[in-house]
Structure formats: C-alpha cells, structure tokens
Symmetry: C2
Subunit: 392 residues, 2 copies
C-alpha cells in the first residue's frame, strides 16, 4: 500500500476552560492507504500540531512532518518504524514533530491492522490482550469533602482504582494536602487502589515532595505521579530513593523513547506512564513497554481523552499480563465521549481490554465529529497550506 492522504480534524468543546482537563479539544488524524482508512489522535494543541505537519521546510532537518509520510509504502510494522525514523531525522529541529506524528503513527497502525485483518496488539507481537484494571482519573476536589465524594462516586461506579490529580495539591500547606489524601482513602475504602498525581507542581523541589510522603504513605497511595518537571531526572532520582513504599510514577511528557528510559534509569520511577499521543505513537510506546519489563518497572498508559486514544494506548502493553493498572478517562468532556461510535466498555468486574478487532477496533462517529469541528485555515505566501477538510 501507499499512504495516499493524511487529514487532520481539529475538534473542540464550544468553551475551553483553564481546568487541567485534556479532553476539551482533540486533533484526529485520518490516514488512507490501499483502500483502508485508519484513525489516530494527537495530544495536544491541535493548531500547533497541524502547523508541524504542513509548515514550509526550514532546512534539510527541519522539514514538515508531511514530507516523511505522504506517498510512503505501508505494508508491515517495519514500514511504520522506518517512517518514524525518517520523521525523527528529517524533522529533528521541529520540536512539535513528535506530537504531530503521534496521531499519524496510530492511524498507520490502524490502517495496517485493518489491511491485515488483525488487532494492532498482534502486530506488536502479543498473543493475547489481557484485561486491565482501569482507574478513574479525576481532579482533586476544591475541598477534602469534594475529594471524598469523588472517591465514593468512583467506587459506586465499580472502579477498584482511582487516581486523583492536580487541583489544590501542592498549592497550600502539607496539612491541607494530607486532608485530601485522607479524604480520598476514606472515600475509596480500605481495599481501593489510590493513585496520586500532582502535575509537576514542585518543579525540582525535592523537599516539598518529601514533606508529603508521610501523608501519602499513611493514605496507602500506590504511586506519586509527576512530582517534578518531566525532565528533572535528578529530582526524580533523589525522591525515589527517599520513598521505598510510595513508588514514583512519571513519563507522560516523554516525546521520545530515550526520555522514558532516562526516567527509569536515572529517575528511579516504578511506574512508567506513556501517552501514545505524545511519544510518537504506538511503536515507541511498545519499545518503552519492552524496556520496562526488562527493568522491573510497570508500564501504564496515559490517556485523558477519547476511546480512540484509549485503544491506541492499551496496545503497547495489551499482552503484559502482570501490568494490570490502566488509565481510563472517567469523566471526559462530551466531545471525547461522542466522537467514537463504540467505546471500551468495562465488564462486570470493572475491567477492560484492548479490542479483539482489526486495527484499533474503534469507529469514528463522523456526525459527532462534524459537531465539534473547528474551522482552520493557514495561508502562507498566498497559498493555503491547510484548510479543515470536509467531513465525509
């Protein structure tokens, strides 16, 4: 097959707020090859990622992502890896390229899976897609009481695991944070899996993170996620040594395999969380999963948007029976829910699995897509480089 076309669809809620909720907009990518159509999703800032695909070339290694994709042969996983390597080299000075290509790469796997009538996880070499225990991702409440109710609601919704993130944590006192952690535990009950995400709030300040460890331990948190800037390896490494019980989680910011490896090797993380919409897609995420297995680290997906992104994010560790925790968009905006015609439903045990269906196994709802579509036009020297394509 030849890659015939790549189309970008920028979708947005009518209003986007400063809430740390990544499901307020989306950038879907449609790839056509050999009569098959595949879909992927980029994380985040749709306009910037679109610019990364269509921008004029700056020089030989700052080319638009399009240059390394359009017209390429796509017959095997090796072709996807080859295209990814070309993007990495030809666009090495284009910082946004990794995010732009991530959605394209997912769509390439989807196309290939459909053409080969096989789930993507089989193309990655797995023989089975094991069930995962999804955790409900939600924001900490504005008050401990709100956090408590959030935890209770998640349990009553049949979630065994809950991750609380962002909100007030790290912005006030150690005691205020402790009250939230305790409220979360109280709401979850003694057997619930509690995960805590602080969204890089402490920059590189190890002592600020350390001050919260006793309260996290007391609340039985399984992990503390993103205490520092994604690249603050020293800080990660120091905190990991101080915290044998509450393991450190991180990696969602990784926009290449090396960054994830460094968090494991130098940052000492116990859970590596990969967003397929940022790291360059499913192929590099699988490389990280392989590396994590080698190093005794647990792989976890990072997904806060649609079930297309969720399916893509499950593929790289679908076949790892022991890596069971998975992120699950618990309360996404209507956009993220509406744009797929099918979704990964939890079974009676509250578990999900990567679909046993060709490609990513997710169908796009074109009508819903139309509802959220943002009209964009980028003109350079009088020439339209990008205009929102018609939905059809």
């Amino acid at each position: 097959m030849k890659i015939e076309s790549v189309d970008f669809f920028y979708l947005s809620m009518p209003e986007v707020t400063t809430e740390a909720d990544g499901s307020q907009d989306a950038l879907l990518v449609r790839v056509s090859a050999g009569g098959f159509v595949g879909w992927g999703e980029c994380e985040a800032s749709p306009l910037t990622s679109i610019a990364g695909f269509y921008c004029p070339m700056s020089h030989g290694v700052c080319r638009p992502v399009a240059d390394s994709v359009l017209g390429q042969t796509l017959d095997s996983p090796a072709d996807i890896a080859r295209i990814a390597a070309e993007v990495a080299y030809n666009s090495m000075d284009l910082l946004q390229a990794a995010h732009t290509f991530s959605g394209v790469e997912m769509a390439l796997w989807d196309v290939l899976g459909k053409a080969m009538d096989a789930p993507v996880w089989t193309l990655l070499g797995y023989r089975a897609s094991y069930k995962k225990t999804p955790y409900a991702s939600q924001l900490f409440g504005d008050s401990p009481d709100e956090t408590l109710r959030g935890a209770q609601k998640a349990r009553s919704d049949n979630f065994k695991a809950v991750k609380f993130g962002w909100g007030p944590i790290g912005r006030g006192s150690v005691e205020a944070d402790r009250d939230h952690f305790q409220a979360a535990r109280e709401g979850l009950g003694p057997d619930g899996i509690l995960l805590v995400d602080v969204g890089q709030i402490w920059g590189e300040d190890v002592s600020a993170a350390e001050a919260r460890l006793p309260a996290l331990e007391a609340a039985g948190a399984v992990w503390l996620e993103e205490p520092f800037h994604a690249s603050a390896l020293d800080a990660y490494g120091r905190l990991a040594k101080l915290s044998p019980k509450v393991r450190i989680a991180g990696g969602e910011g990784a926009h290449n395999v090396s960054m994830a490896r460094h968090l494991i090797n130098y940052g000492g993380i116990g859970f590596v969380q990969i967003d397929c919409g940022r790291i360059g897609g499913i192929g590099p995420a699988k490389e990280v999963a392989d590396y994590a297995v080698e190093r005794g680290v647990t792989y976890v997906n990072h997904t806060f948007t649609s079930h297309l992104a969720l399916s893509a994010s499950l593929q790289p560790f679908a076949g790892l029976a022991d890596h069971t925790i998975c992120e699950f968009p618990f309360a996404p905006k209507a956009l993220a829910r509406d744009i797929t015609a099918n979704r990964l439903m939890r079974d009676e045990n509250g578990e999900i699995a990567a679909p046993d269906a060709p490609g990513l196994g997710i169908t796009i709802d074109m009508k819903a897509l139309q509802t959220y579509l943002v009209d964009v036009e980028i003109k350079v020297s009088g020439r339209v480089l990008y205009a929102t394509p018609p939905v059809q």
Copy 2:
C-alpha cells in the same frame, strides 16, 4: 514597564533547499514595553512557532505562549525568569513552546538592557565581555578535495578554528570519513583548531561512532559533535568513556536546562553547546553556563543564523574568560546577513566579543526585513489569530 506587544516576523530566502543550513529562514520577534523595543530570534520552523504563540488554549497547562507574556511586568531579570516559569508551567503540554518562547525571551532581555542602558551580559552578572575565538561553521564538502579547499579558505579568511559538519560523514565508509578529516587538517595547517559535527548521524549506534575515533584523533579534532540523537544519553556516556582525547560536544537540541545538565551528568560531554533560540532564551542558557563552570565543562554557543542570534548567544558566557571558542555563522544565506544593520565584526586577531552596548547591541534593518518577509495568515473559527504585521 508592561509588555505591550509581541510581533512575529517570518522571513525566508526565496528558495529553501534540503541543505542542512539553518540560515535559510528566520523568525524574528519584536517586543515593545515602556517605550522600548527589543528583538529576538526563534530557531526554527517559523510557522509552527507562530502557532505556538497564538494557538487556542487546549486546557489549563496547554495554553498559548502569549497568555504568559502579554501584559506582564518587565522591570528586572527576575521578571524575565518569572515569565519563563509561567510559560513552562502554563504551556507544559505544548511541545513547541520552548522554541516559541526562546525568541521572545531574547527580546525581553534586549528591551530590559535598553531600558537600563546596559548590555545584557552585565544584567546577567558579568563584569566584562571577553573576546572569543570564532570558528567558521561550514558543511563538509561533497569530496575530500572540497573539504580541503573549505578549510584553506577559512584559514585565509583569518579563522583560527573551523568546524566541519554534516555532508557525507557517516553515510559512507570509515575510510571515506577519514579522508575528509585528513583533508580538513591539511587545509587548516597543523595549528588550526579542528572541530567535527556529525549531526546525530549515528542515532544510538556507539560502535559506528567509535569506528571513527582513530581517524578523528589522528586529525587532531578537538571535539566530535552530536554523534547521536540529542536524547541518547546512554550512547553519549559510553562514547565519552571511549574517547579521552577527542571530547564529545553536544547540547544544541536542548530545549530546557535539564536536558543540557543530563548531557553533562550522564552523557559525559566536554563541551556543552547551547542554542539560545531553542533552550528558552538567554536566562536558561546562563544557567547552563553556570552549571558547566561548576562541572569543568566548556560552554559554547550554537548559532547558525543572524548576528542578532549571535549576540544573544554570546551573552550567557561573555564573562567566562576561559571559555573562548565560539560558533560564528561563516557563510550564512543573504537573509541572515542582511536583516541586521550592524554585525559583530572580527578584530585583527580574528576575534569577536558580545557588544558593549545597551541590550543585545544589534539593530534590525527594517528594509531588509521587508525584503524577506513571508505573508502568513492563520484563521480559526473565522477569527484571524495571526497575520504578518506591517513592517514599520
């Protein structure tokens, strides 16, 4: 002062080729505050960086760079650091943000220097601007003979140091590369400073790099630059241990301070090369310079474009008397030469220094800017988010 406006000017040569020459286009940034006007320059892919400044918000930590800059107070270096921290946090999920902000940040220093009637390097805490030995950056020839002539020309142009980069190196045999290294040495004469840049050609393949070390040693190369992907710390570290004589150089890809530190700590580099147009501007580059001094590593600027970028790139190590080698755009495209009304001329010894003039000490040639200006319009939901501003 309040930051009143930020304007982007996308400039381009009439024709941009796949040559690895970053001076074929440019993105200039003009900042106005308190009646002063400052200029900076982003590296690279102007359209994508513009999109990063004006894009609609995706969520609370994926905001356009503009949100953290416009209307801010600018009265001291601490204000610049504060704005930079806001960008890093508010745009953490916007990968391109570091490149976009780099040019803005330079312009903030230029404004502040002009307002305080002081060179930027004094605002960074230096008491003197020491002379630097510029090396002529040029591409390897297509043949060793062409490389030889390039080296001879550089010497006859009064350059004591020459860096050859890219071209055929690493694409053919070890022997072919050796012939180029020898030709470069022959052309430079025995006392010339020879630097070699291979532009990440070996990915993570340490043995491919190792195979070239004997020829590099024999040719007396001072450094081997960017043998691997910017993030391949393990590969860097392993090669550094294998090469006590030819030190490894790298860092131009760093888009935050941590990345540069990691190359020093884990990658074992002996020269850290920082592009102020990528790392977030002059402030983070100065942090790297301080760290390099602490660790016995030599700081070098990375500059391949205009003398505005060159002046900005000299500021962070202007006061380091022992860090003498500096990159100098040897044969840039007409664009990069024309857009500044003054340039950093080499003295009779072939040396240059950061200007002893307010701000960055460089005046933009508005007429030339008009000549190379690219007309861009970005429209989202019927609203023009960016249109090339008039040159006045």
